[in-house]
Symmetry: C2
Subunit: 108 residues, 2 copies
Amino acid sequence: MSDSAVLAGHLQELRRGTVVMAALATLHRPTYGYALLESLDAAGFHVDGNTLYPLLRRLERQGLLASEWNTEESRPRKFYSVSTDGEALLTDLLAEWESLHASIERLR
Amino acid sequence: MSDSAVLAGHLQELRRGTVVMAALATLHRPTYGYALLESLDAAGFHVDGNTLYPLLRRLERQGLLASEWNTEESRPRKFYSVSTDGEALLTDLLAEWESLHASIERLR
């Protein structure tokens, strides 16, 4: 592996764990996949659709997201929103995140 | 999967990416595996030896850590320390971490 591949791998690993948290936090408002991708991008989370869309389906299977089809527009779109269980997970993830942040600050 | 297994999985994923950063930050001073485990634990990173020891060997293979055997004590121990490349990676990881933290704050 080249140095830049090593770097990219480690950065990727650091980002991966934050995507679920970012998605749950954004889905307080029902949002369809592509709009979520844009919101995350605007917030600084550059996630690929090939990563995000399977993740949304997985979170729905786990009961952390609910979904509803909106068929009022010309093109039907599936809107996701965070469920009660998803809110509980988000609270735990944010608490863990703050704790990790404090730990890293102690080590710096 | 039970709810608690789902939760544990997501928390685990969030922590995973931070362990490399925490290890590199701690290894400014040459340290052997078990002592590093204890330092990380004291800082709030509860890493298992089965996770940490293979990680140290991987980081050494990637040139991010250097190691030296200390044979002065009754039991020889391998001391790891961060290399120049490791320092550069740590700087990048910390910058990415700060950027992710700012992004999460924007979404909350």
